[in-house]
Structures are given as C-alpha cells and as structure tokens.
C-alpha cells in the first residue's frame, strides 16, 4: 500500500539552529500539507502546498518557516531558527485531490529543541 514517508523520525536540535524535515508524499498525490502536534494536543495545520506553491498557511507558519518541493518527489519543511516552543511532532500529509479526498499521514518527525 502506498505511504507517506518522513525522515528523520526524531531530530534534536539546539535553539537557534536550522532544521529541515523531509517528506516523500504518495506519488500521484497533488496536495501536500504540514501539520504539527504538540504532545497530547490537537493536530494543527501549518501549510498546504499545491502546484508548486503555498496555497494556504496558518498564523503559526511565520517567516521562520518555509516549504519546498525541490525535485518533484520530496517535500520539505525548513525552520530557520528554532525556538523551544517549536518542539512538537511534525506530520506531513498528502491527498490526491481536495474536497472528498482523504489525507494520508506520514509517521511524523519528533522535533526536540533544547
């Protein structure tokens, strides 16, 4: 069964450092997302990406965040200067369409900022 893969599974970084979280969405999907989940809390939308550009972003997704689809398969989330409060589980998801299309989530990257 096709799946969304994320690497690394766990990343520990020092405050102020840059991190790149990587995702390989399902190959025929067109819509890509990053969500984050602080431990025990809700799944929060960060950004959606379609047709090689951001289609929507939340207020969490400020200037320190960026996304890229550099080579047609990978989908990356970069956090330029990490803060302690960025510690969370980051999930990548993809859908083949919008509306009635379900989202497939990756296993997540647990980011710990120390």
């Amino acid at each position: 069964e096709p799946e969304v893969t994320q690497t690394p599974s766990h990343q520990v970084t020092q405050m102020g450092q840059e991190v790149i979280l990587r995702c390989v969405p399902i190959s025929n999907h067109l819509y890509f997302y990053w969500y984050r989940q602080i431990l025990g809390q809700k799944v929060e939308f960060l950004v959606s990406f379609y047709n090689n550009e951001i289609s929507e972003k939340s207020e969490i997704f400020d200037d320190q965040f960026s996304v890229e689809r550099p080579d047609g398969s990978n989908f990356t989330l970069k956090i330029r200067s990490t803060k302690l409060e960025d510690s969370a589980m980051y999930f990548c998801a993809s859908r083949w369409g919008q509306g009635v299309s379900e989202a497939f989530f990756g296993q997540g990257t647990r980011l710990t900022v120390v």
């Binding site: 969500y35 809700k42 939308f45 289609s55 929507e56 509306g99 379900e102 989202a103 296993q107």
Partner: protein
C-alpha cells in the same frame, strides 16, 4: 475562520461500555472525515461522510453526519482495548486544507 469543535476531550470507559464523540463545525461542510491516532502513532483515515443525514458502519463503529451537515458523531459499541487512541474529526475548508477538531482521547479499562 472555520472552526471544528469536538467533545468530550477525554473519555475513560470500562471495556464493553459504549463510547461516543461529537463534532461540530462553525460552517456547513461538504463532507466530514474521521481519523484515529493510536498512542505514539499518526492519524489514520477511518471514514468519510458526504450526504446529509448519512450513517455508515464499520463493525462496531457507527458514524453519522447531521442533516444540516454541520455536525457528526462517532459511536463505538462495546469498546475493546484495541479501540484506545485519539479520534479526530476533520472538515475541508473553502480551500484545500482539512481543519481538525481537537480530538477525543479514549482510554479503555480492561
């Protein structure tokens, strides 16, 4: 913006008891989706409801979509320990993102 609210936040039941979680949207939804997240896992799609008043069953799980397409429920009959996890509802907004409810954490005592 669109909000999706879910209650209860947390429910602890005895194995064999029933469980229900409720979802309400601030806007009419074209469809609603339900996901389950096992402890330490990632959200996994369970089902999607599209039609007003729709009811779907998956074994012991019953999903309903309200007539006004603004609310939904998930009911589990005779819970088992394998049912533990967090159940999220999610609705698409006017764009292409899914807005998730806060989730209901289900714990089952055996």
């Amino acid at each position: 913006g669109q909000q999706v609210m879910q209650i209860p936040q947390y429910q602890h039941v005895q194995e064999g008891e029933d469980f229900t979680t409720y979802c309400n949207s601030s806007t009419t939804l074209s469809n609603i989706q339900w996901y389950k997240q096992r402890p330490g896992g990632h959200p996994v799609f369970l089902i999607q409801l599209v039609k007003s008043g729709e009811v779907k069953k998956q074994k012991r799980l019953t999903f309903q979509f309200g007539e006004a397409k603004k609310n939904s429920s998930l009911h589990i009959t005779a819970t088992q320990t394998t049912d533990v996890g967090t159940y999220f509802c999610a609705g698409p907004n006017y764009g292409n993102k899914l807005v998730f409810g806060a989730g209901t954490i289900l714990r089952v005592k055996s």
